[in-house]
């Protein structure tokens, strides 16, 4: 099939996307529930006690996936916002809107769980370290995006204004990601990377990946249900 044969803009119409979103959401929600249970089982029962951190390290099984999601959702949100700005497709702005609350939620969860991990491990709930501060800024970016969208009545104008904010805010993502390398942070460097083997026990790594997959599928399901609400509300 030639590239022109694929109707790229077919699903850009809210009406054609609506039933597809419903079916996808149901599938993702089911898979997310199963993977969450599996991830909890590995994280709380199977994974061994950490030699230095004791049981407190089990927080990592939700902290790291939540932190990944907080950044990933922002990038996807900014991507849809940019597509909406470039092609003036209505669904793109709706997708960005639908992702923001879930992204903000995962950012808060990352901060909250990190704080509860930091107290027993570092001796403090909070420190103005580059990683923690940039993650807090991410939370404010989500809040700013949602507040801006809520403040402008005309959805198309709101989408354009929100898109600008989302795109400018993307600058913060590499700052969060590389903060542990660029600055001398209290927050540790990453134990998982695409280039080398993870520097942690295999079961711990598995638990984290399963939980990350669960959070991915959860986010997709929730965003799709929310986009369906937005399509209905804007009719």
């Amino acid at each position: 099939m030639s590239a022109q044969g694929i109707k790229w803009f077919w699903f850009a119409s809210p009406q054609t996307f609506f039933p597809l979103a419903g079916a996808l959401a149901r599938w993702c929600a089911g898979a997310a529930a199963v993977l969450t249970l599996l991830g909890l089982y590995i994280g709380l029962f199977v994974a061994p006690t950490d030699a230095t951190q004791g049981e407190a390290y089990r927080i990592i099984f939700i902290h790291v996936p939540a932190a990944w999601m907080s950044m990933l959702i922002y990038v996807v949100m900014a991507f849809w916002a940019a597509i909406g700005l470039a092609f003036n497709t209505r669904l793109s702005g709706m997708m960005a809107r639908a992702l923001a609350p879930t992204g903000a939620l995962f950012t808060f969860i990352a901060l909250w769980t990190g704080s509860l991990w930091g107290k027993p491990t570092w001796g403090t709930y909070w420190v103005w370290d580059a990683r923690l501060t940039s993650e807090l800024i991410l939370l404010f970016l989500y809040f700013g995006f949602m507040a801006l969208q809520a403040a402008i009545e005309d959805p198309r104008r709101a989408d354009r204004a929100g898109a600008l904010l989302a795109i400018v805010g993307v600058v913060n993502i590499p700052i969060i990601y590389y903060s542990v390398k660029w600055w001398n942070t209290l927050h540790q460097g990453s134990s998982v990377s695409l280039k080398s083997a993870p520097t942690m026990a295999a079961t711990m790594f598995t638990g984290m990946i399963v939980m990350a997959a669960a959070f991915w599928l959860y986010s997709i399901a929730v965003a799709l249900v929310r986009v369906r609400c937005i399509i209905r509300e804007q009719k």
């Binding site: 709380l44 006690t49 004791g54 049981e55 407190a56 089990r58 927080i59 939700i62 902290h63 939540a66 609350p101 879930t102 939620l105 808060f108 969860i109 909250w112 769980t113 509860l116 991990w117 107290k119 027993p120 959860y218 929730v222 249900v225 929310r226 369906r228 609400c229 209905r232 509300e233 009719k235």
Partner: protein, 46 residues
């Protein structure tokens, strides 16, 4: 069981993290279902 719940003395931290995380995800689902129901109802009325 009580040993499991005690989490080696880190119960507040571990359960505080897991509890808040899954309560918030549950709340998001709850409010989204409510919104979804409302959006559906207003559509069928119109």
């Amino acid at each position: 069981m009580s040993e499991f719940l005690a989490m080696g003395g880190y119960a507040w931290y571990v359960w505080g993290a897991y509890g808040v995380c899954f309560s918030l995800l549950g709340l998001e689902i709850f409010f989204l279902m409510k919104r979804s129901g409302k959006a559906k109802a207003s559509e069928t009325q119109a």
